[in-house]
């Protein structure tokens, strides 16, 4: 039993890292949003599996929150935003895909080396989940750094949050109150960012954040 439960947890957490890479690979905005929905779906499965093997019913609530908000509500809302902004066909890239992938591999290796060393005496499941969660967080940060479009940066931000949830569930779950408040703060952050996007658009006629740098008088 330990073998199978560990293998499935490994499969799902590894799948989450893989979907993070697929997000990095996608340069079209609507495909990127589909990848983000997939990311949340894999996270849901992973959390639900953890709830099953840890026998922790409150984790099912976490999985449900991830499914409803992050896999359904937010991707649909972002789809609507990019269609209304008229940027759903736009291609967005700063660094080439190859270089980004290599950087990403480096980050994954780094997080594994760090986490496996630090958590030497923890439960194997938690160790593995923590290593993968750190990788997902770093990949989300990389995504925010390498993209210029504000919508892709939002997706990067949301996938960082997915990584945090994975870490929390691996470490025997976090209190439900904290979980719900984080989910709502992410939702509010999402609403604020949505309004912010329209404001940027109104003022600068683009959602390319380099326009902001130019406006501040920085060298772009």
């Amino acid at each position: 039993m330990r073998g199978l439960s560990f293998d499935v947890a490994h499969l799902l957490a590894g799948g989450l890292v893989l979907v993070s890479f697929m997000q990095l690979y996608q340069d079209r905005l609507s495909a990127l949003l589909n990848m983000f929905a997939l990311h949340a779906l894999v996270l849901t499965l992973s959390v639900a599996w953890q709830a099953y093997i840890q026998d922790a019913p409150h984790l099912y609530v976490t999985a449900l929150i991830a499914l409803v908000f992050k896999a359904i509500v937010i991707p649909i809302a972002l789809h609507r935003i990019i269609v209304r902004l008229g940027i759903h066909r736009e291609i967005d890239k700063v660094v080439g895909v190859g270089a980004t992938m290599l950087l990403g591999m480096g980050l994954v290796a780094l997080s594994m080396v760090v986490m496996l060393r630090v958590t030497a005496d923890a439960d194997p499941l938690a160790r593995e989940d923590l290593a993968f969660a750190l990788a997902v967080v770093l990949l989300g940060l990389l995504m925010m750094v390498t993209r210029r479009n504000a919508v892709s940066q939002v997706v990067g931000f949301m996938s960082i949050e997915n990584g945090l949830v994975l870490a929390a569930t691996g470490a025997k779950g976090m209190p439900l109150v904290v979980e719900i408040s984080i989910a709502f703060s992410v939702l509010i952050a999402f609403i604020v960012i949505g309004i912010f996007l329209f404001r940027i658009r109104e003022r600068f006629d683009t959602v390319d954040v380099q326009a902001l740098d130019r406006f501040r008088g920085e060298r772009s």
């Binding site: 590894g14 690979y25 190859g98 496996l116 194997p124 993968f132």
Partner: protein
């Protein structure tokens, strides 16, 4: 007596890959044509093409060197040996101690090196373009292939194909994300190496899009027949490699009875048919990508291989 039987089985395998390779190509073409609602050439058309080419006279360019005449034989020999080493219907054949994944990659790599030389030899611009593109693809595909091999070797504890196949049929494998990633990476590499659509189009002679066909443009007659046969053998090799490593069921163990051999052979034919069908569906569904997108495609394969190795490292070190 046993030794003679082993020799016979090994010889049968060598002949079988040679005889089945054109059929596989014919099957892929036929399925593709049917998917496009064309009737398509008959299944035995590749054999007829080969027979016709063998009868035709060889036309050589004036400035072709001896290398140009020797290379078809070298390429064919290397590819045939590599294809005959991959276990098809039975694992643990007489020569399977030499069926090492790294040896097979080296054989294919040297075949490709000589083919690229042949493209450069006559000095036409098409040959040069083809060779340079082929080398660009190869320099990206080979690391990806090696990462896949490392993953398999870490899981099975050997790079020997028979051992890997035997390990994959046992219950020790379990559910591993690394294996799935390795399968994807190997499939992407196989598509690139066999010059199939998204990377290259095997059916075209439009100069802007071709890679493999541009390299062999100067060949004719029996030389062209040998080169065509080698590329068909290479396709068969990759399909049997994927079948042998990821779907090893039905393969007869070493020293099996004639009945088990027959079952293994039937299973192998089914695997080939499935592989050809999937390849045709994939090629019909997808458009060819620009040459400059190929590094991204193969970079993704390399990334998958690397990720598979890293995941394996994590689950091992726990």
């Amino acid at each position: 007596m046993a030794v003679i039987f082993d020799f016979a089985v090994q010889g049968a395998q060598m002949l079988m890959v040679l005889l089945l390779a054109p059929l596989l190509t014919g099957l892929v073409r036929k399925v593709k044509a049917r998917l496009l609602r064309r009737r398509g050439p008959p299944l035995i058309q590749p054999y007829r093409d080969l027979a016709r080419l063998l009868r035709k006279e060889v036309v050589l360019a004036d400035n072709a060197s001896w290398l140009f005449r020797v290379i078809p034989y070298v390429v064919f020999a290397a590819t045939w040996v590599a294809a005959a080493l991959v276990p098809t219907f039975q694992s643990g054949l007489l020569f399977s101690w030499s069926a090492d994944l790294i040896a097979i990659i080296a054989l294919l790599g040297s075949a490709r090196f000589f083919l690229a030389l042949a493209g450069l030899d006559v000095g036409t611009s098409f040959g040069g373009i083809g060779s340079s593109r082929e080398m660009m693809i190869a320099s990206l595909a080979e690391p990806a292939m090696l990462m896949t091999v490392f993953t398999l070797a870490l899981i099975a504890g050997s790079t020997q194909l028979s051992t890997v196949a035997a390990f994959m049929t046992s219950n020790e494998v379990g559910l591993r994300v690394s294996l799935g990633l390795a399968l994807f990476a190997l499939t992407m590499v196989a598509i690139a190496e066999n010059a199939r659509i998204p990377v290259d189009n095997p059916a075209t002679h439009l100069e802007l899009t071709m890679v493999h066909e541009a390299m062999v443009l100067e060949y004719s007659g029996r030389h062209l027949a040998l080169i065509d046969l080698s590329s068909e053998l290479k396709l068969l090799l990759y399909v049997s490699l994927i079948g042998c490593v990821f779907l090893p069921w039905g393969m007869a163990p070493s020293g099996a009875s004639v009945q088990a051999l027959a079952i293994g052979f039937a299973a192998y034919l089914v695997k080939l048919a499935i592989g050809a069908f999937l390849l045709a569906v994939f090629e019909t569904a997808i458009a060819k990508m620009r040459v400059f997108r190929v590094p991204e495609f193969l970079g993704a394969a390399l990334m998958l291989g690397l990720l598979a190795t890293l995941f394996l490292f994590v689950s091992r070190s726990l």
